[in-house]
Symmetry: C2
Subunit: 343 residues, 2 copies
DNA sequence: ATTGCGCCTGCAATCGATTACATCAAGGTT
DNA sequence: AACCTTGATGTAATCGATTGCAGGCGCAAT
């Protein structure tokens, strides 16, 4: 009793109309007479008709999907952004196609494959670090769908983007530490070539210079946003003859690695050293000590990026100017920061 | 200078062959003469030809995509499973289409839409809690693609599944606490109707009964896997006149909420109470104290589910028996558990 | 009664790739 | 020389929905 899926023509036959009318009744109901619409909908209901997306997309010259490039799907930081994107896209009846660029970086061919317009109607990149060859093909080819960078971005300003105010966030963090009396402040940064690292570093240095706090090379720790790099930084801190009394970490993950490793050496936060993170991931408020950090509007980054992309899709060919949206961040003061030791 | 994307016929013209030959040269190279193949590939390269997936899928009667249903995209626990799935799927040249069922639960129509075979060639559900109406339509309709449950599953054994040994994990946790001398053990469980809650609860109770440890109603705490519910449980624990000396939490998140809230009341883990978690999420090893927990093979759950689904896609119509794969878990002993107080 | 206008509907082309079947050439067999 | 086999290629139908265009109908204005 194998039964093929009903097609539009089956519905048409039952409703006693042509396929054209069925199509219109379903997608542009106001263009059909009331009575026909009712009988078509009834017939569709009766047969359990579902449109064949491949056929529709072929005819309409679109794909019905948006590709989201994620640097590392395993990183919880991105999942909430994804959630934000998904909400917006499903509302617009677009599918969200997720690609882990960590996997795909090895194969740039595969990547440009995804960026081609037979694959997706648009692209949201959470990864600012796309290979140049890929970026070039996106910019030059008219076969590439619109692209929006979210969270991270590229040096090239011709790509639209949504980002958090990373520089401002770093300034807030430093100002907070300064207000607590700290004058020996260290910075644990992300990967050197990363745009977020640079923005946060710039903001932090600006604030320190502006606040009369020395920027010392021996207080600069190199990390890569991961827990482990926070652990490494803790060892570096421990090895210093003259230690900073506060450390601004460019990610919460690194802050956790840093604090936990210090704890193992009996160093207590914030008593011996104050720590500020960046991101405000879920667990931050429930770490011990609860982490003082800069909150990024993660869901907001996702929804804004999706909205921006939808606008560009709706706009007539090349109609919209390149847009850069910056979302505010917020300093969340908790228990990992305290007054500088008076000594 | 608007230029349309090249089509197969453009390649054919340049190579001086028919579209049929181009198609064959690209997808079944061995059926085409060496020389033709070379000139076709050259022509494809020259024009920058990419197949139109809508057209291919229409003709081949498939969609080239797998839908993954995620209960809550914002939850980091799922992101690593997604990563595992993505690796497998991209290897098979299938797209991964992610849907947040938390969003979609409100609209069951939308959900069954996704489960229909014009949308996807297969389904991986990380959500065992699909509405009955949806499940029924999946089971009954022959328009539904194969489905595999990963991580969570349904009461109905007719659906294939991949799961961690939740019962065994819970037994390990209890055995560990017993070995440390605990005889007053509490359980902080997940949402009551959840299959994971039941499996872990069963395992824990079994182990306690088998080990001669009383299962006391006043030591049962209700949670829902979230941080906040761990916090609530901490209050419940504090309110008890007679308190368990160890608590087995059905998720790491709850364990963190529990421990952090106790810490705010000056109760120390593991000195005053031992805590075991479940999942071993990234931060677990770097919490303070580092969390003793049951490790689930998250990436493994994803890759196994994807592999199982791919097998079913490759198999001839209804050729494969329903399969249930159980992956081992592992107890990771860290610092949140210690000997029971001798008093 | 004629004309004109709007509203609804149907006809048929179209989107681009795949593939069953037909064709054709070359080489081997008897 | 007639016939068969094998391998390579072309022809054309096909997947299912959408949509430009044209036609038909009813109603109102002249």
């Amino acid at each position: 009793m194998e039964m093929r899926a009903p097609r539009i023509i089956d519905v048409a036959r039952i409703a006693g109309v042509s396929t054209a009318t069925v199509s219109r009744a379903l997608s542009k109901p106001e263009t059909v007479a009331e009575t026909t619409r009712i009988s078509v909908l009834a017939a569709a209901e009766q047969t359990g008709y579902r449109v064949n997306h491949a056929a529709r997309n072929l005819r309409r010259q679109r794909t019905g999907a948006i590709v989201v490039l994620v640097p590392n799907l395993g990183n919880p930081f991105f999942s909430e952004i994804l959630a934000g994107i998904e909400v917006m896209l499903s509302r617009a009846d677009l599918n969200m196609l997720v690609v882990d660029t960590g996997q795909a970086h090895a194969k740039p061919d595969l990547m440009s494959e995804y960026l081609h317009n037979t694959r997706a109607d648009g692209i949201i990149a959470l990864d600012g670090w796309l290979p140049d060859s890929v970026l070039a093909s996106v910019r030059d080819s008219n076969a590439s769908p619109p692209i929006v960078f979210a969270c991270e971005w590229t040096a090239d300003p011709s790509f639209a983007s949504v980002r958090a105010d990373n520089e401002g966030g770093a300034r807030l963090a430093i100002a907070h530490l300064k207000a607590l009396g700290h004058s020996k402040i260290g910075i644990l940064s992300g990967p050197p070539d990363n745009v977020l690292t640079m923005a946060r570093g710039t903001g932090a240095r600006d604030a320190m210079l502006g606040g009369g706090i020395p920027v010392r090379d021996d207080f600069m720790f190199d990390g890569d946003f991961t827990l482990d790099s926070g652990v490494m930084a803790a060892h570096a801190w421990l090895d210093l003859p003259d230690r900073p009394t506060a450390v601004f970490c460019a990610s919460d993950q690194m802050a956790f690695g840093f604090i936990s490793e210090l704890a193992r050496s009996g160093i207590s936060v914030p008593r011996s050293v104050s720590v500020v993170g960046f991101d405000d991931i879920d667990i931050a408020g429930r770490y011990i000590p609860a982490l003082t950090t800069v909150r990024q509007p993660r869901a907001g980054l996702g929804t804004s990026a999706a909205r921006m992309l939808l606008d560009r899709l709706a706009a007539p060919e090349g109609g919209l100017p390149t847009e850069h949206l910056m979302l505010d961040v917020e300093l969340i003061v908790r228990d990992s920061t305290g007054a500088a030791p008076s000594g």
